[in-house]
């Protein structure tokens, strides 16, 4: 098992470097001169040349890429914002908790509601209850989250006045964003749980459990559910990672100062160093979350565990076999 973990962690390194190179290259092709963006319209030719020199913008692509990678991986620096001159890394760090909270609570709510709904739909498969809940969840999957957010604001903030419509000054500010963000997740996870459960319920070991007289409740929750949950872990993890990058639209609707809002703001300001930094930051976090999910998956799924543990055992067997033959 530790071999698997090590392998996965080591495989992560070239991907992170690749991600950094790709984003740098993308941003390299952005039209417009950073020096002019930094100085604004009123700059003289001499000033622009001076700033270009100072930032090393005159150097060829390879040299700039090299120094960018060195800064990123050895000093953990994302560079400075073109517009505000502040360190992008510090800015992202201070904003990260808000995005994380939003993503974590959304995914928590999605699983807590989505999985039981899916189980119920699966155990009542093809009855009216199942059909209605699956249709509703399909509507939920299809609803744009920013529109739902606006509708929630309309109802709970403007009409009823129960909850604040923007900002992030306390827990009550997170209720609407989390709701808007989680609905798609609830619906998606419910659908997935249902299909995963349906597949498992038809498996032989479930029939066996029923045949030997295990109560239905225990068949569902002890025999079927743990196996059905395995693929759901991946999806939940993927959604969580996706949420870290995908909350940006919700963050703009509710003016939550998270990473997504920073990214969009930076794009509008043509602050490409900040764009590069935030995209990298989100991609790195996403990568790490996906790695963790894979590790959890391997831990939960005995088949993957067996693959790695089996190797050493097989070798022993072979040696024994040879010995017996001789």
């Amino acid at each position: 098992m530790s071999k698997y973990v090590l392998k996965r962690v080591l495989l992560m390194i070239p991907i992170l470097i690749g991600v950094a190179i790709m984003i740098f290259t993308l941003m390299f092709f952005v039209p417009g001169d950073p020096a002019e963006i930094i100085l604004g319209n009123a700059a003289t030719e001499a000033q622009v040349i001076a700033v270009r020199e100072q930032l090393g913008l005159n150097q060829p692509y390879i040299v700039r890429l090299g120094s960018f990678l060195k800064e990123l991986f050895f000093h953990g620096s994302f560079g400075n914002s073109y517009i505000y001159g502040t360190d992008v890394g510090t800015e992202l760090m201070s904003r990260f908790p808000k995005t994380l909270a939003l993503a974590a609570f959304s995914i928590l709510l999605s699983t807590v509601i989505g999985i039981p709904l899916g189980i119920r739909a699966a155990t009542h498969a093809n009855r009216a209850e199942d059909r209605v809940s699956m249709f509703i969840s399909m509507v939920g999957v299809s609803m744009p989250n920013f529109w739902l957010a606006l509708m929630l604001v309309l109802l709970f903030s403007l009409k009823l006045g129960w909850l604040p419509s923007s900002g992030a000054k306390g827990w009550q500010y997170y209720i609407l964003p989390v709701l808007a963000n989680a609905l798609g997740g609830i619906a998606g996870i419910a659908r997935l749980t249902r299909s995963s459960m349906l597949e498992v319920i038809r498996a032989d070991y479930v029939t066996t459990a029923r045949a030997k007289g295990v109560p239905e409740h225990s068949v569902i929750y002890k025999h079927a559910l743990p196996n059905a949950l395995i693929p759901i872990i991946t999806i939940c993890g993927g959604r969580f990672g996706g949420q870290l990058g995908g909350t940006m639209v919700i963050e703009t609707v509710f003016s939550i100062p998270g990473i997504g809002a920073y990214l969009i703001n930076s794009i509008n300001n043509r602050d490409y160093n900040a764009v590069q930094g935030s995209v990298l930051y989100i991609a790195f976090t996403f990568g790490v979350v996906m790695l963790l999910v894979d590790l959890i998956y391997a831990y939960v799924d005995p088949r993957i565990k067996a693959q790695y543990e089996g190797q050493s055992k097989k070798r022993v067997k072979k040696v024994k076999g040879v010995g017996a033959g001789a």
Partner: protein
């Protein structure tokens, strides 16, 4: 089991004399179509999309108002007999704008998925069929692309390309490639090792014939589901992009862009945000329902 239920009730009405309608060969296009027709929700989806396309094309001919005519006297007018969905902040008829805007959302959905499916299938097929070094290069590159959440990748690409209808299509198209490529590769790998390929080889089929007649048709069928679901996803992503100011730009009546400008009037004129969002939802829902029905038709495991 909706299909048998429908069949049985039809049969029962006619005194049980008529045998159930014969279905085409499993997996064929005709069979998928027959299954969609038996699923009322999917059929509703197909009809909704067709109606939307037709109305969007014909709307300039039968609507009283043009989508771009500004009329400040009816600015922010609430829904009435004159303006069914009301008017926006510049007095433009929202119904006309929504019907015209369907062109943007639907074409972004279709075209971007066409890009990602074509390139993704080609890349995945190459990686799966040739294996070795080609596979390594393609897969490592896709690993890097898959390290981004799809919307983030689309946003990063549109930050570079700039905004606009065509650029929105490229951004969404490129960001969807890894998904298709990975699926295609996995399909090719499973099919390459199956008996019918071996059988084809053993009766001396040419390599080209094996690829074109045996491998590709079998590898592509499962991707049809993905195409339908991806169109739904791309429509949703396109409206998100336009909503945050990337993608299609405001004077154009793209639904997400309409929502973005209507947002400022949410307090006084909620009708302005109600309708564009409703139409995004209906179109995305339709594609999802169609995709679901195709999946049921193609995947015998999920059939009851």
């Amino acid at each position: 089991m909706p299909d048998t239920a429908v069949k049985m009730s039809k049969g029962a009405k006619r005194g049980g004399q008529r045998p159930p309608k014969k279905l085409a060969r499993t997996g064929s296009a005709l069979y998928v179509w027959q299954r969609i027709c038996q699923n009322p929700l999917a059929l509703a989806g197909v009809i909704a999309i067709c109606v939307m396309i037709i109305l969007s094309i014909l709307s300039p001919f039968f609507l009283k108002y043009d989508y771009s005519t500004i009329d400040m006297t009816s600015a922010c007018a609430t829904p009435s007999a004159e303006h069914l969905f009301g008017c926006d902040e510049l007095g433009r008829d929202i119904l006309a704008r929504i019907l015209y805007g369907a062109r943007y959302t639907l074409s972004v959905g279709f075209l971007s998925v066409a890009i990602s499916a074509t390139l993704g299938i080609a890349l995945g097929a190459a990686a799966g069929y040739f294996g070795g070094i080609v596979d390594q290069i393609v897969m490592r590159f896709l690993d890097i692309m898959a390290a981004f959440p799809q919307l983030l990748l689309a946003i990063a690409i549109s930050a570079v390309l700039g905004t606009g209808f065509d650029k929105c299509i490229y951004a969404l198209g490129i960001s969807g490639i890894p998904h298709f490529a990975r699926m295609m590769r996995a399909n090719i790998l499973t099919i390459r090792g199956q008996e019918f390929v071996e059988a084809a080889t053993s009766i001396n089929c040419s390599k080209l014939r094996i690829i074109l007649r045996h491998v590709i048709p079998n590898a592509i069928a499962p991707l049809i589901v993905e195409v339908s679901m991806s169109i739904a996803g791309a429509g949703l992503a396109a409206s998100s992009l336009s909503f945050i100011g990337l993608g299609v730009q405001p004077p154009a009546p793209e639904w997400g862009a309409m929502l973005a400008s209507a947002r400022n009037y949410i307090r006084l004129y909620p009708h302005m945000i109600m309708f564009p969002g409703l139409f995004i939802m209906i179109s995305v829902l339709s594609f999802n329902l169609i995709g679901d029905a195709i999946r049921d038709a193609l995947d015998p495991k999920l059939k009851d």
